[in-house]
C-alpha cells in the first residue's frame, strides 16, 4: 500500500470514529460531584436511557457553563452550592420545573432546601466544618467554634470561594451568622497565612492538612469523613455557632431537548435507589448527608442535619461578586 493511501485510510477511519461519537439522544449531565458516575450508571441500568457525563471541578465547570452563556449544552446541571444555582435560575439558564419533586420523600431539611422557583432541586447535602489533624495539634485543646480558630492562626487551611461553590456557600453562611463586618474581621484574624488560605481545591486543602503546614482546616464535612475513612489522623468538629447547609442541587437547562429524560434523571436521584448508588462512589462526595427519608449516611457520619441553617440564596447571590473579591484580595496571593 502506498504511504499516501495508507495515511488517507487512517484519516478517514479516524474521522468516522470521531464523528460518530456524539449521540444526539443521550442525556448530557454536567457535574462536579464524584457521585455522578455511579448515579448515572444506576439510572441507565434502570431506565435504559444513556447518559453522557462532563465532570470537572466546580470552578472549572461553572467557568464552562458561563462561557456557554445563554446557549447551555447540558440537559442537567448538578453542582454543590445553592447560591450558584440561584444565580443561574435568575439568569433563566435553568428552567423551573414545578411539581417535579412533589412525590419525593424529602427529610425536613430537604423540604426546606427546595427553592420557591423550583428551578433546581436539592439532591444531597453537606456542610463546612473544622477538620483537625490530631497528630499535629498534639495536646492542644481542639477548636470548638469558628472563633476558636483564632488560636490556630497561621496553620488554618481554607479553600478559595472564588474557585469553589461549597466554599462560597460557607463564606456566605459565615457572614450570615456573624455579620459581614464582624465576620470579615474574624477571618482576618484566623487566615493569617496566605500559603494556606484561598487554596484552589479540597484535595489541596487535605494535602496541607495531612502532610503540609496546616494543623486544622475549614473543610467540607464530606471530605473530612472521607479522610477519617482512609484512617488519616483526622477528626471533625461542627462549630458551636452552627453551620450552613450546602446542598448539591440539580437543575434542567432552559434549552434542553430532552426534558422528560432530564426530569426522570433528577427524580431518580431523589429516590432511595439513587442515593444508594451515590453512596457506592469512591470519592469524598459519597459521604453526603441524605435528604431522602430512610437513607443512612455512609461511614462515620453523624446525623445532625436538623440543626443546619439554610442560606438566604438571594442575599448571597446579590453579594457574591463583592464578597469573593474581598476574599481574593485578602487571602489569595
Amino acid at each position: 500500500m502506498k504511504p499516501i493511501r495508507f495515511v488517507s485510510s487512517i484519516f478517514v477511519a479516524l474521522s468516522a470514529a470521531l464523528g460518530s461519537a456524539h449521540a444526539a439522544d443521550h442525556l448530557v449531565v454536567y457535574s462536579a460531584l464524584d457521585t455522578v458516575d455511579a448515579a448515572a450508571s444506576a439510572f441507565t441500568e434502570k431506565t435504559g436511557i444513556q447518559v453522557d457525563l462532563v465532570r470537572l471541578s466546580t470552578g472549572e465547570l461553572l467557568g464552562k457553563v458561563a462561557a456557554e452563556g445563554d446557549n447551555p449544552k447540558f440537559d442537567v446541571l448538578w453542582v454543590e452550592g445553592s447560591a450558584v444555582m440561584s444565580r443561574l435560575a435568575d439568569q433563566h439558564i435553568l428552567k423551573p420545573e414545578p411539581g417535579l419533586a412533589d412525590g419525593v420523600q424529602y427529610t425536613d431539611l430537604g423540604h426546606r432546601l427546595v427553592p420557591k422557583s423550583q428551578a433546581y432541586f436539592p439532591v444531597t447535602v453537606s456542610t463546612t466544618a473544622i477538620a483537625v489533624n490530631n497528630a499535629k495539634i498534639g495536646s492542644a485543646r481542639p477548636p470548638k467554634s469558628w472563633h476558636d480558630l483564632v488560636g490556630f492562626a497561621g496553620s488554618v487551611a481554607a479553600k478559595d470561594p472564588n474557585l469553589s461553590g461549597p466554599a462560597f456557600q460557607w463564606l456566605a453562611g459565615y457572614f450570615a451568622s456573624k455579620g459581614v463586618d464582624a465576620g470579615k474581621q474574624e477571618l482576618l484574624n484566623i487566615l493569617t497565612n496566605n500559603k494556606l488560605s484561598g487554596i484552589p481545591s479540597g484535595g489541596a486543602v487535605n494535602k496541607s492538612l495531612i502532610t503540609g503546614d496546616a494543623s486544622v482546616a475549614i473543610q467540607q464535612d464530606t471530605s473530612i469523613y472521607a479522610l477519617i475513612d482512609q484512617k488519616e489522623p483526622v477528626s471533625i468538629v461542627y462549630p458551636s455557632e452552627g453551620v450552613v447547609a450546602i446542598p448539591s442541587s440539580a437543575g434542567i437547562a432552559r434549552t434542553t431537548q430532552h426534558e422528560d429524560n432530564a426530569k426522570k434523571f433528577i427524580q431518580f436521584l431523589l429516590t432511595k435507589d439513587g442515593e444508594a448508588a451515590m453512596e457506592r462512589a469512591d470519592g469524598g462526595d459519597g459521604f453526603f448527608a441524605p435528604l431522602i427519608q430512610g437513607v443512612k449516611g455512609k461511614g462515620a457520619r453523624v446525623d445532625n442535619t436538623s440543626s443546619w441553617q439554610i442560606l438566604d440564596d438571594a442575599k448571597a447571590s446579590a453579594n457574591e461578586t463583592e464578597w469573593k473579591q474581598w476574599f481574593r484580595d485578602q487571602f489569595v496571593p
Binding site: 495515511v7 484519516f11 479516524l14 474521522s15 470514529a17 470521531l18 461519537a21 456524539h22 449521540a23 448530557v28 464524584d34 453522557d52 457525563l53 462532563v54 465532570r55 470537572l56 471541578s57 470552578g59 472549572e60 461553572l62 467557568g63 464552562k64 458561563a66 462561557a67 456557554e68 452563556g69 445563554d70 446557549n71 449544552k73 444565580r87 497528630a135 478559595d160 472564588n162 474557585l163 461553590g165 500559603k195 481545591s201 479540597g202 484535595g203 489541596a204 487535605n206 494535602k207 495531612i210 502532610t211 503540609g212 503546614d213 471530605s223 472521607a226 484512617k231 488519616e232 489522623p233 469512591d282 470519592g283 469524598g284 462526595d285 457574591e320 481574593r328 484580595d329 489569595v332 496571593p333
Partner: protein
C-alpha cells in the same frame, strides 16, 4: 551538500516549542530566504492556509482577548459592545494583579538565567567531552520534557511537604522541608524543569560546529577551558541569547508549576491569575483577556528582542568539508562530572517520577511509606477497562494520534508556503507562533467554547461537545510548534534545491512532495512524536472541550487530584508516561530498522 543540510535539520529539530521556534522561526525569518527563487506559483502567498490557521487559533483567541476592552460582549443577560478600559487599568490598580505581573517578570528573568546556565553546562559536557554513559545524559532532557509540569509540581509537593516523603525517610527535617517552599525552591524546580529548553537549543548549535575549529585550537595548544571560552562560547552565543529569551517565554507562560508549587509558596503569578479569573463564578473573562493580552505583549517583546538583538545571526557552520568533532577527555575530572550529572538526573527526573510512583502504590498520604500502606488498588483501577480511567487512556492515545496526523500534515504545507514568503511575513508568522504557545492554553480553550457555542454560523456546525472539536482544539494547541519545527528544518535547505526544481518546470507542491519532504523527514517524525506526547498531556483543551462521551486523560488526572484521589491520579499519570515511553521506543526501533533496510538496499 544535501547530506549536510539533512544533518542540520536533525540537529535543530529540538523537541521544544520555543526552542525550535527561535532556532527555526525567528532565525530563519531574519536570515536568508532559503527557498525563494521567484517565478509563478513560487511566491509565499497562501491565503487558504492563513485562513485555516486564523480560524483554528486566531479567532478563538481573539474572542477572549477582545473582552479586555469589550467586557460585556458575551454577557448572558445583557450583551453589549460598549468599550471599557477598566479591565486593563485594573491590572495596575489591583495590588494582587500587579504583584502577579511583577512576580512573573522577575521569576521569568531569573528562571531564564538559571535554566540556561544549567542547559548550557549539560550540552557542553555531553557533546564536547567523553563523559561516561552519555546516552543516559542525552536521554535525560527528553524524560524531563515529556513529564507535564502539573505532575512535576505535584511531585515536588509530595516530596518536600512537612509530612512528605523526604521527611518521612529522615532525609530532611520538617523545618528544612518547609523552607523549600520559597522563591529559592521555586527557582530550583523551574531550573530542573526547564533546562531541556536551553539544552536543545545549544545542542543544535553545537552539532553545527565542525571538529576543525576545536582541532585548530588543539594544534595551537589551547586548553579545553580556553577553547570553550574563546571559541565555542562566541560561536554559540546566539543560541545562548535565544535560550534566555525562550526560557523567559516558557517561565511566564507556564501554568503547571504556577498552579501547584507557586501557589503553595504564596506566590501569585500571571498564569494562575488568568486561571482564577476564568474558573471563578461569575467568570471574569475581561480580566483573563487583559492578562492574556499582557502576557502576549511580554512574549512578543522577547520575540522582537530575538529578532533584532543579534541573536538571529546566521550561525550555520556546516559545509561539505566538516570534520567530526573529537571530544575532550575528562581524565581525572570524570568521577566528579559523572557525580554532578547523576545528581542532576536524580533531582530532575528520578525523584519526581519516584514520588509519583510511590503515591500510585500507596493508599494513604499520611501513612507515608509504611509497609501496610502499599497497595496495587490504584493501578488496578487504571487497568480496569470498564472504568472511566481505562477508557480515557485508550481515547487519549487515539486523540493524540489523530491530532499529530492532521496537525503535522497541515504544518508541512503551511510552513513550506510561509518559507517562500517575504522576510516580513516570515517574522510575523514566527512571532505569532511564539505568542500563541506562550499564552496559556486555557485562553484558547475558552475561545473555542465561545466560538463554537456562541458565535452564529460556527454554533450551527454542531461540533461543540464532540470528539471532533476536542481534536481540533488539540490541533490548534499543537500547530504553532509544529510550524516552528517545519520552519526550523526548512531553513537549513539551500536555495539551489528550489531553483533546480523551478528550472525543471516543477510546481512548488511537487517540489515539496518530491524534494523537500524527504529531506525534512526526520523533522516531520520528531514533530509527529512531540505532538503526540504533548497532546496526551494537554490539559486545558481536555478540560474545557471535554467530549460528552467521556474525558481524556489530563482532565481525569487533574479531576482526581482535586477530588483528593491522588493515588489513582498518580497511577494514571504513571501508566500514561510508560505508554508514551513504550510508543516512543517502538517508533524509534521501527525508524532505525527502516533506515538500516534502506541502507542495505542502497
Amino acid at each position: 551538500m544535501v547530506q549536510g543540510s539533512v544533518r542540520t535539520v536533525i540537529g535543530s529539530a529540538a523537541p521544544t516549542r520555543n526552542a525550535a521556534a527561535v532556532e527555526g522561526g525567528i532565525g530563519a525569518g531574519m536570515t536568508s530566504r532559503s527557498l525563494i527563487v521567484g517565478g509563478k506559483g513560487w511566491g509565499g502567498g497562501s491565503p487558504l492556509s492563513w485562513f485555516v490557521a486564523f480560524v483554528l487559533i486566531g479567532l478563538p483567541m481573539l474572542l477572549v482577548v477582545v473582552q479586555a476592552v469589550v467586557p460585556k460582549l458575551f454577557d448572558p443577560t445583557a450583551p453589549s459592545i460598549a468599550l471599557s478600559f477598566e479591565p486593563l487599568s485594573r491590572m495596575v490598580t489591583s495590588p494582587r494583579l500587579l504583584h502577579g505581573i511583577v512576580n512573573t517578570v522577575v521569576l521569568g528573568i531569573v528562571g531564564a538565567i538559571v535554566s540556561t546556565l544549567l542547559g548550557l553546562a549539560l550540552a557542553l559536557v555531553v557533546h564536547l567531552t567523553d563523559v561516561r554513559m552519555s546516552r543516559v545524559w542525552k536521554a535525560l532532557p527528553w524524560v524531563v520534557f515529556a513529564t507535564p509540569s502539573y505532575l512535576k509540581g505535584l511531585a515536588w509537593v509530595l516530596l518536600m511537604s512537612q509530612g512528605g516523603y523526604l521527611v518521612y525517610l529522615g532525609m530532611l527535617t520538617p523545618t528544612q522541608a518547609s523552607s523549600f517552599f520559597g522563591p529559592t525552591g521555586l527557582l530550583l524546580v523551574m531550573a530542573l524543569s526547564l533546562f531541556p529548553v536551553p539544552y536543545f537549543i545549544v545542542r543544535a548549535r553545537l552539532e553545527g560546529i565542525g571538529g576543525e575549529f576545536l582541532d585548530a585550537a588543539r594544534m595551537a595548544s589551547a586548553s579545553p577551558a580556553r577553547t570553550i571560552i574563546l571559541i565555542v562560547l562566541p560561536m554559540i552565543m546566539p543560541a545562548i541569547g535565544l535560550s534566555l529569551l525562550t526560557t523567559f517565554a516558557e517561565v511566564v507562560g507556564d501554568f503547571g508549576l504556577a498552579n501547584t508549587l507557586a501557589r503553595s509558596m504564596s506566590l501569585g503569578l500571571l498564569t494562575y491569575n488568568i486561571y482564577a479569573a476564568t474558573s471563578s463564578f461569575p467568570v471574569d473573562f475581561a480580566a483573563a483577556g487583559a492578562q492574556a493580552l499582557l502576557l502576549g505583549v511580554l512574549v512578543s517583546g522577547s520575540v522582537v528582542a530575538a529578532a533584532f538583538g543579534g541573536t538571529q545571526r546566521d550561525a550555520r557552520f556546516l559545509s561539505g568539508r566538516n570534520r567530526s568533532l573529537r571530544p575532550y577527555r575528562l581524565r581525572y575530572w570524570q568521577p566528579l562530572v559523572f557525580a554532578v550529572l547523576a545528581l542532576l538526573a536524580i533531582s530532575a527526573a528520578v525523584l519526581p517520577l519516584l514520588a509519583v510512583t510511590l503515591r500510585a502504590l500507596t493508599t494513604s498520604l499520611g501513612a507515608g511509606l509504611s509497609p501496610s500502606n502499599f497497595s496495587l488498588s490504584a493501578i488496578r483501577t487504571v487497568f480496569d477497562i470498564s472504568n472511566v480511567a481505562g477508557q480515557a487512556l485508550v481515547s487519549s492515545f487515539a486523540y493524540a494520534f489523530a491530532t499529530a496526523l492532521v496537525t503535522v500534515a497541515f504544518a508541512i504545507v503551511f510552513a513550506y508556503r510561509v518559507s517562500l514568503a517575504s522576510k516580513r511575513t516570515r517574522v510575523l508568522a514566527a512571532g505569532l507562533a511564539m505568542v500563541t504557545v506562550a499564552v496559556p492554553g486555557i485562553i484558547l480553550a475558552f475561545g473555542y467554547i465561545l466560538l463554537y457555542d456562541r458565535v452564529p454560523g460556527f454554533e450551527n456546525l454542531g461540533l461543540y461537545g464532540t470528539r471532533t472539536l476536542l481534536v481540533l482544539g488539540y490541533c490548534a494547541a499543537a500547530l504553532p510548534y509544529c510550524l516552528i519545527f517545519m520552519w526550523s528544518a526548512l531553513d537549513r535547505l539551500g536555495s539551489s534545491l528550489g531553483e533546480a526544481s523551478r528550472l525543471a518546470g516543477a510546481t512548488p507542491l511537487r517540489h515539496l512532495r518530491l524534494i523537500v519532504a524527504p529531506l525534512i523527514g526526520r523533522a516531520i517524525a520528531a514533530a509527529f512524536g512531540v505532538t503526540m506526547i504533548r497532546t496526551v498531556f494537554e490539559l486545558p483543551m481536555s478540560q474545557f472541550l471535554m467530549p460528552q462521551t467521556g474525558p481524556a486523560i489530563p482532565a481525569l488526572i487533574v479531576d482526581d487530584f482535586t477530588q483528593d484521589k491522588d493515588a489513582v491520579a498518580c497511577a494514571l499519570a504513571l501508566v500514561a508516561l510508560l505508554a508514551v515511553a513504550i510508543a516512543w521506543g517502538l517508533a524509534t526501533l521501527v525508524g532505525r530498522s527502516n533506515l538500516r533496510s534502506k541502507g542495505a538496499k542502497s
